[in-house]
Symmetry: C2
Subunit: 204 residues, 2 copies
């Protein structure tokens, strides 16, 4: 096979594999990991029957872990991109919650965090999914800690503040879905902003 | 039937029904709603096969809603009890997170919030479970708002502060399960305590 043909084949294969992963991630986000069958993933992706076993020989857990990694990676990219555009930690939070609310409302409160439901259903029982979740959270925390560092947040408080931001947003997303309202996100963001705007940052 | 016999029968029936609900709540908490079969619930409760259909003629969604109501109600009671014993909102939060961490560690990080997983899997698609979740969150928010009121928190900020506390704790519980560590709960509680101990409460 020439290099060109080989490259084309690899691109096609990656495209098929990605199609399966994103179809899975969308379904898991809306109806959970256990509530989504392999058939649903195949139907949503339009991939051929055999492709699931070809790309994910270890079965559903392997797709679950790949979906957590892919969807979590997209959030990390969003964090990093917004951090570049933000003037302060509070400004970052405003921009991110604006995005969250827009997504949530567009989906009529059906699409929350793309990885939480899967993680709560499978952690710590599934080792591959737990490991994928841990890696995603480590990336999120690192992205937020870097953003806080850029705005002069004390080094010894960055990790805890980043954790509190992620915890607050995750919990708020869950409350928003159940209540069918963006209010919990606005309330939580407001509380987090007060923390982020405190003049004596050293005290946090 | 004499009143005595009738009462005894009612107590026994309620006991069987409660047994099914709590067995379901425990399983949903650990492995999710979709991942738990009616068979698992029957086996865990030790109830007779027919009893599920007798007490829950509408099937699994009815058990799901009852489990959310029961487990959520226990949290409301805990909030109310701890609020009575607490000297300040921050003291309340310390007491509650101490309980959370003890439960989580005792279960080796398998048992998180007893209702979140089920709600994320089923909301808003399942109307009965969504409604049960909304009622539970309304009770939690009311219990926390009453606690804040008792300690002089401004009336117009109670609902938002209570929401931020619940969001932070829910998100922290999820992070703690995935990371297999209580650190996210400690970090989030510390951030929330700073908010709760701010001298100018009016600014929140």
């Amino acid at each position: 096979m020439t290099t060109d043909l080989y490259n084309k084949k690899m691109i096609l294969q990656n495209k098929q594999r990605d199609g399966l992963i994103w179809a899975a991630a969308k379904l898991f986000r809306r109806q959970g990991y256990s509530g989504t069958g392999l058939r649903d993933i195949l139907a949503a992706s339009g991939a051929a029957r055999g492709s699931l076993y070809h790309y994910f020989p270890d079965g559903k857990e392997e797709i679950g872990a790949a979906a957590v990694t892919a969807a979590g990676g997209l959030v990390t990219e969003t964090f990093t991109e917004l951090a570049k555009q933000s003037d302060s930690p509070a400004d970052f939070l405003h921009r991110y919650t604006e995005l969250l609310v827009r997504w949530l409302e567009a989906s009529k409160f059906r699409d929350g965090c793309p990885i939480t439901t899967t993680l709560l259903e499978t952690t710590p029982a599934s080792r591959p999914i737990t490991v994928a979740g841990q890696a995603v959270f480590a990336d999120w925390l690192a992205a937020l800690a870097a953003m806080l560092a850029r705005h002069g947040w004390p080094a010894d408080r960055r990790a805890a503040t980043a954790t509190a931001i992620i915890a607050g947003l995750e919990g708020a997303l869950m409350l928003a879905r159940v209540q069918g309202s963006a209010q919990p996100i606005h309330d939580t963001a407001q509380a987090l902003c007060i923390l982020l705007e405190m003049p004596e940052k050293e005290s946090l």
